[in-house]
Symmetry: C2
Subunit: 354 residues, 2 copies
DNA sequence: TTGTATGCGTTATCAT
DNA sequence: ATGATAACGCATACAA
């Protein structure tokens, strides 16, 4: 923990100037003899380059931030898992920001971009307020937003298509003969909540099914709250034969409640989740879920950011990642071969140490 | 994205010296008039303090690193979820390192500590080699290791007790009348693999059960590999009535294979996992699992690190977190009230955006 | 109270 | 090829 050696220390030890040391360390043309002396001194002293000083001079930190509402959210984790290796491969460190679903914190994080401790940022805003847009417009480093921002916002933008996603799910349920399809949504003042609510309504209309507001229940994006919402719904309407849940956690809560109520899934009530998290493949029964491409959105966002970090200026890009319906046991008793998709084994070694 | 203003810019604008600007910005005693001028200028220019320059001067980055094998591992994620808020509350940013289970990369990460882009580090090494110990001894910033390091290593140390953990599980299975209890382990050259292997043997001995090496199968800590290992095991021995799996992913793989083989869980074969990840509560059937306190280890590690970042020097501390058996359906048809523990609803809002 | 000047550890631009 | 020196943006000891 001692005061580490600097290029000055090395210069003295090697009997050369700090300029020469710097040159050797950066591989610039130098006489063999000098190289030898410097390398030897650096080796002996256990020299390690100071990243902070280097950043001050070079104006690059080789760090990138990833900001989302909650590290505990499996959808964000799926993004994180993709973002991390992409950035690492390009020589960037990843700084994590968990804003706790508080708008002020998200603004704060954007503000902190000005501190220049990162070269750029990937952000998944929960809501997109006027303040967000203002900060994004004034950002002093490149930002990639996962989610939707209005045209003209000067940031790259990776979108999911939850409209199509919801339609895939509702169509699927309809094709299975379900006609009383309820929506269990999260708060409608969030971006995903609003989008999914509207998409549900549209999907019904396209199928010629009536929109019955009795069939819509608003809770929160958590398992317990999802369960409560479903309980309330079942208490109100008795003939529900399918539940479209706004995310997987809500769907898991639904399964809990349905089981407790003695309803069979999918025979009595079919259940569809959203985000296709790890929990969906593992659940009981396994959960049909709409993948909104969390992983791919993360990967694309990382690539867009890297691209911009290198190229610098060009027009903002918008990429939309298509959704995909993953059918499992919660809608069909005999799910197709997809069961326990192979990517389930992708992660993890060493579940803790002794 | 313009060249941001610095204290020099502000000084000119306000007609004062950079020293005065710095004083105002840091709340040092200054004349009201000056304060006003500086604040006004800073406001107009949208000044944000440069964190890099500040760090170079103050020798503190207000960043902390968390290094583990794989961001995709739920056990590490559980730690991450606890570490993040603790550090955030103390004003530290979190830098993530995923070493990909490669020893050389772990050494690399320890080496990079010398670059001083972080004030300290929390690391979960997969193996603890001589190189690790050497780097830890020479570290130029405080390190907290989650896992076990030998006495005398100058770092704080948060341990799990997988020995007791395995015993809890084996005792549980024994109490349920199981006598042919197999171990499905990961590589025995990893810290957790070795510990769990030894603990299994001990637990059997204490119960007076014979150690039968036919009952031990080595695979890897993944779902697919776990499944393969179990398949091989079942193919070799026909009277297995319980599986002790070295982590939850292996256990999930076991459930897959048992189901495919037409075995009932837990009637024919009881299954226990380890780490008690989110997947355990969600699985089908829900999985009895030994919690090694991943979350708590993470929290404790963060607290130890913060403590050392403030206090500076004191004796290395060792904290051991006790394990806990969480009984679910995979060992008892009628699991206790623990089903779907309440913390399941803790995370997540907004499963992606449209 | 305020300004001048120095240093944090590097990189880069000059001369030499 | 090498050395002296100036920046990078900030904080601070010292002088005024």
């Amino acid at each position: 923990m001692a005061q580490g050696p600097t290029i000055t220390t090395i210069a003295e030890r090697a009997g050369v100037s700090i300029a020469s040391v710097s040159r050797v360390l950066n591989g610039l043309p130098t006489r063999q003899e000098t190289v030898r002396k410097v390398m030897a001194a650096a080796e002996e002293l256990g020299y390690v380059r100071n990243a902070v000083a280097r950043s001050l001079k070079s104006r690059r930190t080789h760090q990138v931030a990833f900001a989302m509402a909650d590290v505990g959210n499996p959808a964000y984790l799926a993004m994180l898992r993709e973002i991390q290796p992409v950035l690492k491969a390009a020589g960037y460190r990843l700084v994590l920001h968990s804003t706790g679903a508080v708008v002020a914190d998200e603004i704060d994080v954007l503000h902190s971009l000005g501190e220049r401790y990162v070269d750029g940022m990937i952000m998944v805003p929960l809501r997109v307020t006027e303040a967000h847009l203002q900060m994004l417009g004034a950002a002093r480093a490149p930002v990639v937003v996962i989610g939707s921002v209005p045209e003209g916002t000067p940031v790259d933008n990776v979108r999911a298509d939850s409209r199509t996603g919801v339609r895939l799910a509702v169509d699927h349920l309809h094709a299975l003969g379900r006609r009383r399809i309820a929506l269990v949504n999260g708060p409608t003042d969030t971006v995903p909540g609003a989008a999914r609510g509207a998409a549900y309504r549209e999907a019904l209309a396209e199928l010629g099914l009536p929109y019955d507001e009795e069939l819509v229940e608003i809770g929160d994006f958590y398992r317990a709250e999802g369960g409560r919402a479903v309980a309330a719904l079942l208490n109100r309407v008795s003939d529900v034969d399918a539940l479209m849940c706004a995310n997987d956690l809500i769907a898991l809560g639904a399964l809990d409640v349905l089981r407790a109520a003695g309803k069979r899934v999918p025979e009595d009530v079919a259940v569809v989740g959203m985000d296709d998290t790890d929990l969906a493949a593992a659940s009981w029964p396994s959960l049909t879920s709409v993948s909104l491409g969390s992983a791919e959105r993360g990967r694309v966002a990382a690539e867009l950011l890297l691209d911009r970090l290198q190229d610098g200026e060009h027009e903002p890009r918008v990429v939309t990642v298509p959704p995909r319906l993953v059918v499992r046991a919660s809608t069909t008793p005999e799910p197709p071969a997809t069961r326990g998709r192979s990517r389930d084994g992708r992660s993890t070694e060493g579940g803790g140490t002794s």
